[in-house]
């Protein structure tokens, strides 16, 4: 048997990795503080209100994380135009023939686990596969829902134009009640995608031994050399 050579390939550039981890941190922080806002724990205390401010701090963290969330979102949008081919916005709109074929392939062999007759190397995905690309599009739309409803709820407390820009959102939804319900529900949808995402990353790392997990830290993935000859 001849040697199997693996090639190291730089895929996730700095801005993508920075976006990824700050975004993850924001979602975690926003969820924890969001739950505290939705259902604050009971604290029995004889203290005067003037001595405490914890709920204000929780909300402060939520809103600060929200701004960071938007900031890295803008960074990522910029990088979807300025970055390499794996970061490009076209990855997230896999609606051409190649994309649809890839989607079918992923569904058949990765999700439904139907064994491949003749495992072709060209079906090994280097960046995002088409299903993942679509999932991240959904994630982006949900993030927009969070930003629009969140900043819409926040707009009345704000003094500068950015949050005020979203004041029309609760009005269009009929009021803060509905905006809050949607904000809360979308959080669950985000976690739905996060769970599936984390699982599938681990799955691919395990199945394909390509360094999928560490790639979001180092930026590198590993592929058989032949994968590139075929291209």
């Amino acid at each position: 048997m001849k040697t199997q050579d693996y090639k190291r390939l730089y895929i996730w550039e700095g801005p993508v990795r920075i976006f990824h981890w700050i975004n993850a941190l924001c979602i975690l922080t926003l969820t924890i503080t969001g739950f505290l806002i939705a259902d604050p724990p009971a604290i029995m205390s004889g203290d005067e209100a003037s001595h405490r401010y914890w709920f204000g701090i929780v909300r402060f963290i939520h809103f600060t994380a929200a701004y960071l969330f938007v900031a890295v979102m803008i960074l990522r949008i910029y990088w979807a135009f300025a970055g390499n081919r794996y970061a490009h916005w076209r990855n997230f709109l896999p609606f051409n023939k190649k994309g649809l074929q890839n989607m079918l392939h992923v569904l058949k062999h990765d999700i439904l686990l139907i064994p491949e007759r003749k495992p072709g190397l060209s079906s090994v995905n280097i960046g995002h596969n088409a299903v993942a690309g679509l999932a991240y599009l959904l994630m982006f739309l949900l993030a927009l829902v969070m930003v629009f409803t969140g900043f819409g709820l926040f707009s009345n407390n704000a003094s500068w134009w950015f949050p005020k820009m979203f004041a029309w959102v609760p009005a269009a939804l009929g009021g803060d009640f509905m905006a809050r319900t949607i904000h809360h529900l979308s959080m669950w949808l985000i976690w739905f995608i996060v769970f599936v995402h984390v699982y599938l990353v681990l799955f691919h790392d395990w199945m394909e031994s390509n360094g999928e997990v560490s790639s979001m830290i180092s930026g590198f993935k590993f592929f058989k050399k032949e994968r590139f000859k075929e291209e």
């Binding site: 199997q4 939705a38 803060d176 769970f195 699982y199």
Partner: protein, 373 residues
């Protein structure tokens, strides 16, 4: 009820009623304060009331409980209820007018014809649209017919209360009568929404005096509510707000925290989502308001407040999913399903790809040996 041809001004009528000029100026000052206007507006209001002829008002009642009228006639300053509406301007209102039956209808029609395009139409209540509108009929006509007829010649419409502004309790799921707010029916007239169940009497006075004296609508927000009264949430002017920020909450209505006057958020206060002036103007001539009396805000001035989850808990309710299902329960269900799916997939893939893994491992070993060699 139809007035003589010589159109008297509000001032004339007020003086004729036995009020003094001093009372009149006090009234103008009150109104400017209600409307949140500058002191210079006092003179403007006085001037307008002295020089413009009275504006006729038709006040319709559809599917409602009359709490708006009740609230209004109790508003702080006697001139409001007494003079502006009761004695001078109100040409038609089933509840307060002396005439009844055909006489009342005749009065209304006379006003509608004589002052076509000039009168103000006030609407209390929602309009049922289901089953040909048979759930609310007045003088042999459905509320829908009545509304369309009255709105045709109106200069502007004031939608009193949550019923006329957003449907209120009658439109609660499943809305058996098809109760519909005014702005969804009348599209071609300026409409002011004054939601609340009921709205605060002084707010109603402020709105109507603005419309009558200036002949224009007050500044409205995106939803169509006067900004002067609905720009802030109850939460923003709530005197318990420091407890909210400190995270000190009443857990039950009868606990120590409730006695200490802590924030009512956890017993269901909807103040953080409700736009109304309760915290600043208060009720019954500024005596108190629900939160001051120990009860959370139920969000009575917000669209769909009835269907948006329980009144005494902080839950995210969803109408149409059954009373008990909340966003969190759905979320947990979905998450559980995902976890189960992941489990099944992980096991299945472990089985399905065992062979592939074995081949990979063998490949790796050969590789190592080749490299060593």
């Amino acid at each position: 009820m139809v007035k003589s041809d010589k159109r008297e001004t509000y001032f004339d009528a007020i003086i004729k009623m036995g009020y003094t000029r001093r009372d009149f100026m006090k009234f103008a000052t009150f109104m400017a304060a209600y409307m949140g206007l500058k002191t210079s507006a006092i003179a403007q209001i006085a001037d307008a009331l002295e020089n413009t002829p009275r504006v006729p008002v038709i006040w319709e009642h559809y599917q409602e409980c009359t709490c708006c009228s009740e609230s209004f006639i109790r508003s702080d300053h006697p001139i409001v209820a007494d003079i502006i509406l009761d004695k001078i301007s109100l040409d038609y209102t089933e509840t307060l007018m002396a005439a009844a039956g055909e006489q009342a209808e005749a009065a209304k029609h006379a006003t509608m014809e004589k002052y076509h395009g000039e009168y103000i139409l006030c609407v209390e209540g929602s309009v049922p649209l289901k089953d040909d509108g048979q759930y609310c009929c007045i003088a042999g006509k459905t509320a829908l017919e009545q509304l369309k007829e009255a709105a045709a010649g109106a200069k502007a419409i004031i939608a009193w209360g949550s019923c006329a502004s957003n449907g209120c309790v009658q439109s609660a799921y499943p809305n058996p009568t098809g109760a519909t707010p005014i702005h969804k029916i009348i599209k071609d007239k300026p409409i002011v929404k004054v939601p609340g169940c009921p709205p605060i009497g002084e707010v109603m006075a402020g709105v109507i005096v603005h419309v009558l004296t200036f002949g224009t609508l007050p500044e409205l927000d995106r939803i169509g509510r006067p900004k002067a009264f609905y720009a802030k949430r109850v939460h923003d002017s709530c005197y318990r707000r420091p407890y909210y920020d400190a995270g000190l909450f009443a857990e039950h209505f009868d606990d120590e925290n409730a006695r200490k006057g802590y924030c009512l958020y956890k017993v269901g206060c909807k103040g953080p989502m409700t736009y109304n002036a309760c915290g600043s103007m208060r009720w019954n001539n500024g005596v108190s308001y629900p939160i001051q009396s120990g009860h959370g805000c139920i969000g009575c001035s917000e669209e769909n407040f009835w269907d948006n989850g329980p009144l005494y808990e902080r839950l995210t309710g969803l109408k149409g999913f059954g009373i008990e299902s909340t966003a969190d329960k759905i979320g947990m269900g979905v998450t559980g399903a995902v976890a189960a799916g992941i489990g099944v997939h992980a096991i299945a893939s472990a089985v399905a790809k065992r062979k592939a893994k074995r081949a990979q491992r063998a490949e790796g070993k050969t590789n190592e040996e080749e490299l060593k060699a």
